[in-house]
Symmetry: C2
Subunit: 433 residues, 2 copies
């Protein structure tokens, strides 16, 4: 059932990405796009949906909120995506909201879920978390009057290692658990590509009485998630990476059912979280919807929502289990070729930061180049038609996405990488000769 | 310079709004759109900008963040609108950020600006504030451990009156000022259309040591604002009403320069507020940009931003002063015709809630129908080609927008209203005969 899904996405062409260097005959050829971990490709259907919404706005103005020719009245536009979104993260529909953006949702969810007391006020997470999460959590600790140096418990890899061992995370939870209010990790680490054991970590932290949240930016649409069954308390994500909703598009949030009806926890409220039936009664008596929807604040962007809809409609044609099966093969193939083709000729030119254990990674492999700087390499493979992510100074992140990448993409990438490395080596030895 | 600006907007047609009732010859005729207070019309240029961004995403993928054929790299997409936005609200560019949505921004700005102490912890605002603001402020008080019944000081109209007197607001500030942390009002009241005296109220609350914020949802793009000169501390707004950026589009925020560099106040942080030069260094040491930009959390929606850009480009062809001059005439004309044509024939059929004092209103007039229910009336004037906002049970809000509405629109609206009222009266007397 995966056959044909690639055709649902617009592949950037070599001519538009590198107009100066793409050979004339190759201008219309697709690039090898391995950057879905940063920005997913455009679902071809998105353009049509966006145009439809632009037309409704132009032709009906405000009436589009209630009277919509395509059956997507804007007042309930989130309902077009919530169920499909829930399916991708292994949640019930009422556990999911599509709203705001990732860092905003992290802050909004920490309001009910981080309830520091004198005895239990710490936040346990990774030392090398994505900066926005780090800034956010630090600012939250400060806001509650805590010194981040005291309130933030950071887990680091062992000396000489690059990724975290589950046992070390559990041990850290054991050591600090009694003082930790919230444990929060990324599902898949943005830099190393490590896929954490969400179920085990969540369950373990629960035994210590901690609330457990997850930033799923790099996990959603990449690996199968079962947030409900895993008893995750809350989670948030963006949808512009593996969910292909476009730059800066709308975010997602998960609140486990067991918390969804409770009003014991404070929340920052807004009218879009108010009971739909009485939302426009305007009597200023806040009655939240149950579930994640009750955490919405503002009416959501229609254009962003329908871009996400276009993508989720593709996900509906398959399952995360099926995608994961292909993903393991695809990334395994990448790993194999890198070893067989590149590392054999250029021993030690890079090391792979990502765990070799398939269960501990998503689709991305992160290559740390020992030469120390990947700028020239990145420029030159891009000129040959590869789009991938560079993390300065020395890392390339390569993400073959099972939804639209092929084994051929992986093969071409590795060939191009090898060719460019060969060229660089020749130039270097010519230079030193 | 206003001549021709109407042509920059897409006017809904009668056929698309009321396919069943529009006469065949009138299907392509424009509706009388008087609902810019709810959702502004689509700037015609928005469609092209949106398509350009969809093309960049389709053709370049992630590279659009840095390498953009139209000179709008997404990584700095907010820079395409911030200066133009600042001009509309009377602010310096560094005082303005375009981000998130309105209620989100209200919450984010209350973090630094509402710093309750034992002695000063109250929030003073209108009894009949827009529900989202009411919910938000109530939830903020609760979050800080206060009982809203104690912490929220609400200002109400005098008995028998519908709008607030500035003197009463100032008096309330005098009475409670010592215990009030934040005074927050809407610039233009959503229901009554009252335009508050932002300068006077802000200055007065400052003499009592209060911080002063404004929700400018119905003020921005409607009335001239001089937020910087008025020494407003903070403000937030949406851009889908008088700023015509489309359903659920991006919000705005203002932080006065005098607060922009201070790090004394806590904030909820995110990577998009981090110094641009080092944002991607990822060293997890938060250094905010100075000004409002430092309050950004997430990378913003590109589609929403360019819709706003299309609208602000129209605003650039004029000034708020010029728009206001037309607006006073246009709304004055509406008021006059309503009195001369409608109220003369149907004395007392409605009262106008909006102040008659031009200085105390924006473009909107709110008509309170004494019959008690406007559903049939609203339906029937819509069938004749009028789009305006109904607030159940008994209010119609009529907003002639100087940017795209004409005196002819006002005239047609009044004629249609009179015609429908006549028809209803005839039907009623036939029914009772
Ligand atoms: C005065 C006022 N405040 C707040 C809001 C809520 O806006 P949003 O849904 O964009 O947060 C509105 C929406 O119309 C409004 O008119
Ligand atoms: C793991 C992670 N967290 C947070 C963010 C911040 O996302 P946003 O700008 O949408 O808030 C990102 C963005 O790439 C991310 O990868």
């Amino acid at each position: 059932a995966l056959r044909g899904l690639r055709a649902a996405f617009a592949l950037p062409t070599r001519g538009s990405v590198a107009p100066d260097t793409a050979p004339a005959a190759e201008r219309d050829a697709p690039t090898v796009y391995l950057c879905g971990n940063s920005l997913g490709l455009q679902p071809r259907a998105a353009r049509q949906l966006v145009l439809e919404e632009m037309d409704v706005w132009a032709q009906r103005g405000v009436n589009g909120h209630f009277d919509h020719p395509e059956g997507r009245p804007w007042v309930a536009i989130d309902e077009t995506v919530v169920g499909k979104m829930a399916r991708v993260v292994g949640a019930e529909a009422e556990e999911v909201a599509v709203m705001n953006s990732l860092t905003v949702n992290l802050h909004l969810l920490m309001v009910p879920f981080y309830r520091p007391t004198a005895a239990r006020y710490k936040i346990l997470f990774e030392e090398k978390a994505f900066p926005s999460d780090h800034y956010a959590l630090e600012s939250i600790a400060r806001f509650h009057g805590h010194d981040p140096a005291d309130a933030l418990v950071l887990v680091s890899p062992r000396a000489g290692e690059r990724t975290l061992r589950t046992e070390d995370i559990l041990k850290k939870i054991d050591e600090h658990g009694e003082t930790v209010a919230v444990v929060i990790f990324s599902g898949v680490q943005y830099y190393t590509g490590q896929f954490f054991d969400i179920k085990t970590i969540t369950a373990h932290a629960h035994t210590k009485g901690c609330v457990v949240g997850w930033d799923l930016a790099h996990a959603v649409g990449n690996v199968p998630l079962w947030l409900h069954d895993w008893e995750v308390d809350f989670a948030c994500w963006c949808t512009y990476k593996y969910l292909n909703s476009g730059p800066g598009s709308i975010g997602g949030a998960f609140v486990h059912k067991k918390h969804g009806k409770s009003q014991d926890r404070p929340r920052l409220a807004g009218w879009w979280g108010h009971d739909k039936v009485t939302r426009f009664k305007m009597d200023n008596c806040f009655v939240p919807m149950s579930g994640a929807a009750g955490f919405q604040l503002s009416n959501p962007s229609v254009l962003n929502t329908v871009c996400l809809l276009a993508s989720l409609n593709v996900f509906e044609q398959t399952t995360m289990t099926e995608l994961r099966a292909k993903s393991e093969l695809l990334t395994g193939y990448l790993e194999l070729l890198l070893q067989d083709v590149v590392l054999k000729d250029f021993p030690g030119v890079f090391t792979i930061l990502t765990p070799t254990d398939v269960a501990q990674r998503g689709c991305q492999l992160s290559l740390l180049f020992t030469s120390g700087n990947v700028n020239a390499l990145h420029r030159d493979i891009e000129a040959e038609g590869v789009i991938c992510d560079k993390r300065e100074p020395d890392v390339l992140r390569i993400a073959p996405v099972p939804l639209y990448n092929s084994f051929g993409d992986v093969q071409r990438f590795v060939e191009i990488l090898a060719t460019v490395l060969r060229r660089h080596a020749a130039a270097a030895s010519a230079g030193s000769a």
